[in-house]
């Protein structure tokens, strides 16, 4: 690949990918124990996509995704114990146990959530990027979604507007090849999702989503263009989930052979081998990371186990914002840590200079 990712960065990438993998394995196990319920979609196999993308962009770039969202929160450095507590439906979770697996939100880290309706978050991503242009910020929005979402109207309506209005959003389609149990090509006239960018006058790219260094390099390149040229890019990352669609899915629609073949392509051992082969980092260092991560995940489960269920009084808050009511900052609420919170200019401070349409088009024809 010729990727030149610095050693420290590679270590961070490796650590995050292993953290997500171990976290998800243990989440699956806890589901089996009945501590997690409902729909629980594991990210195992897809780690390279979100970690590569997050490490290639700024921590204050807006980000959002669908319901397979634990890995996205963790990649943005959400507290693993609080993510696990949310899965357990406990008060120490990011949403006080009100959202669960599909609705992780960590606004402190500019992660604007996990959404439960396929493709429903795509227009939100364009709206966040719209706000960035409106305020003349140089941040971009990373809008993640799965392959199946590319067949929703929301995808097409949003790409059209985002391209026409030059909104700084990087659409990252995590193509894990199945929309629940239906293979994408079985229901798609054009299974190459990146090609759909052409219809909206956008740059479309495809990358091997099982190779984190390839993802990192590609996202770096795309994000730079989105940021500087203020226009959207569609990136398809070809990836694979080793588990079923959700914990309720035994995944009988795939052959053993297919899954086995994909196992050889596992992005984590692949990265580990690359690192060791290139001798950039000694094996002990990687082993040390593995051991640290194991401990972090053990502690996360312990934290979630010890966190109480939300009080019944919680039923009556967080539906309507009362006048003067502040926003809840989860790590302050749960851990007592003072945190920075995204702030935006008031309507009295803000000067809008953006012209969405050239004056000539947006003025009345006379005569």
């Amino acid at each position: 690949m010729g990727s030149t990712i610095a050693k420290e960065k590679l270590l961070t990438i490796y650590r995050k990918m292993v953290l997500i993998r171990r976290f998800e394995e243990r989440a699956g196990q806890q589901y089996g124990l009945g501590k997690i319920a409902g729909f629980c979609h594991l990210y195992i196999g897809q780690e390279a996509v979100v970690v590569g993308a997050v490490e290639a962009t700024r921590p204050d770039d807006f980000m959002l995704t669908g319901y397979r969202d634990h890995g996205h929160a963790l990649a943005r450095e959400a507290d693993p114990g609080m993510v696990m507590a949310e899965l357990f439906g406990r008060t120490g979770g990011y949403s006080k146990g009100k959202g669960g697996s599909m609705h992780m939100f960590d606004i402190e880290h500019y992660f604007y959530g996990g959404y439960g309706i396929v493709g429903g978050q795509i227009p939100l991503g364009a709206g966040m990027a719209f706000a960035s242009r409106y305020r003349n910020e140089d941040r971009i929005t990373l809008c993640f979604f799965g392959d199946a979402a590319a067949n929703q109207g929301s995808f097409h309506e949003t790409l059209n507007m985002a391209s026409k209005w030059k909104l700084p959003v990087l659409f990252i389609c995590e193509n894990n090849r199945y929309g629940m149990g239906t293979a994408f090509e079985r229901v798609s006239a054009e299974p190459d999702i990146y090609k759909r960018a052409v219809a909206y006058e956008m740059r479309g790219e495809v990358v091997d989503g099982m190779d984190v260094r390839a993802v990192y390099d590609m996202v770096k390149d795309c994000a730079a263009e989105v940021r500087s040229d203020k226009k959207p890019v569609l990136l398809e990352a070809r990836t694979y989930r080793y588990r079923g669609h959700s914990m309720a899915d035994p995944a009988t629609y795939r052959t053993k052979g297919e899954v086995e073949q994909q196992r050889h392509n596992d992005p984590i051992p692949k990265l580990r081998d690359q690192i060791l082969k290139e001798k950039s980092i000694p094996e002990e260092e990687l082993n040390r990371i593995d051991a640290e991560v194991k401990k972090i995940v053990d502690q996360a489960i312990q934290f979630a186990d010890q966190s109480p269920e939300p009080s019944l009084d919680e039923l009556w808050v967080d539906t309507i914002v009362e006048p003067g009511e502040p926003d809840v900052r989860p790590r302050e609420r749960v851990l007592g840590i003072k945190v920075d919170w995204p702030t935006f200019p008031s309507g009295q401070e803000l000067k809008v200079t953006w012209e969405l349409e050239p004056k000539a088009t947006a003025t009345k024809k006379t005569g």
């Binding site: 959202g99 227009p123 929301s154 309506e157 003025t363």
Partner: protein, 328 residues
């Protein structure tokens, strides 16, 4: 006081709030260059520019969702729906995203956004373009719902809606846009969640909202000639519901007629009847009467369209029934 049209009052509210707060922008179909399908946004593009008065493609789901995303990160969008019928294509964004963000995020996010546009019969538009959605949106926690009848309330409620930190659904009406009324000069904020007694009376309470208010006034004027003094309570807001005002008028007159444009089964009026029977049963001198649209799809033919909608004679009939003054 200044006399103005309902649409002019809305236009004034938008212009005032956009001047006061640069985070407020208007987005929707034909709001800019065309000056608004119903001229509510007349002149705003020229005044505020194309980033703040945004003409969209016909992609209701897309631009409603885009508004929600912008509201999540500090802007205050006003999304104009050419009619609420078209919002059926976008209802996931309004009710699954906007209405649930505060909850799903455990209080981390707020979504200050207004969705507004005309609902109900516009006039000879047949079945796809003539629907009320009062009960649809009011059913959901996480949104506020307003339905002003007069220019003054339209202005004051839109301004309050824009300043509210929650998603607000606002029902207007094609048939109301050209209604004239007095609007107080200066800053006008009508509180969300407060009904108003628009006509005082002791004999019977007529509870209504939006365009039906005018038929109630016609009916009340006619009834007065016959010696029946009707009180008209204009709800103005459907969620949160002003139960206090409802109970107060029931306690005063002991007889109630609920008038709504929408369908009878599970209609918003059915909810009002429940509120009244559960909270003011002892004050009732008879069963609450409902006047609703007929339980059929809207027709194009003028006589059919008229027959489907409530009017003053049907309201008068219901009042007489609730007062046991039916003529054989």
């Amino acid at each position: 006081m200044a006399e103005m049209l309902y649409r002019e009052a809305l236009n004034q509210a938008l212009a005032e709030e956009m001047t006061r707060d640069a985070n407020v922008f208007l987005i929707g179909e034909e709001v800019g260059l065309y000056d608004g399908a119903f001229k509510v946004s007349q002149g705003l593009l020229a005044r505020f520019g194309s980033a703040r008065v945004v003409d969209t493609p016909i992609s209701e789901l897309g631009f409603c969702g885009l508004g929600v995303g912008a509201a999540m990160v500090g802007l205050r969008p006003v999304v104009e729906l050419m009619t609420w019928n078209f919002a059926l294509l976008a209802i996931d964004q309004i009710l699954n995203n906007a209405a649930k963000l505060r909850h799903m995020s455990g209080g981390q996010l707020r979504c200050p956004i207004v969705f507004r546009g005309p609902a109900g019969a516009g006039g000879r538009l047949s079945s796809q373009h003539s629907q009320e959605f009062d009960v649809v949106y009011s059913h959901f926690p996480g949104v506020k719902v307003v339905a002003p009848a007069t220019p003054s309330d339209a202005k004051g409620l839109l301004k309050s809606a824009i300043r509210d930190d929650n998603p607000v659904v606002m029902f207007e009406s094609e048939r109301l846009y050209a209604i004239k009324g007095d609007v107080p000069e200066g800053e006008l904020l009508v509180p969300i969640g407060k009904a108003e007694v628009k006509r005082e009376g002791n004999d019977v309470s007529i509870i209504t909202w939006s365009r039906m208010y005018y038929f109630c006034e016609q009916a009340a004027a006619e009834l007065e000639k016959q010696g029946i003094r009707a009180e008209i309570l204009d709800l103005r807001t459907l969620r949160p519901l002003d139960e206090e005002a409802i109970i107060a008028t029931v306690q005063k007159t002991n007889r109630v007629v609920v008038v709504e444009e929408g369908w009878p089964l599970g209609g918003f009026g059915a909810q009002l009847v429940d509120t009244i029977q559960s909270k003011a049963f002892d004050y009732l001198d008879g069963p609450v009467q409902r006047v609703t649209g007929l339980d059929v799809n809207m027709s194009y033919a003028a006589n059919l369209e008229n027959a489907i909608q409530p009017d003053a004679p049907r309201i008068i009939e219901a009042v007489k029934k609730v007062m046991y003054r039916e003529e054989a």
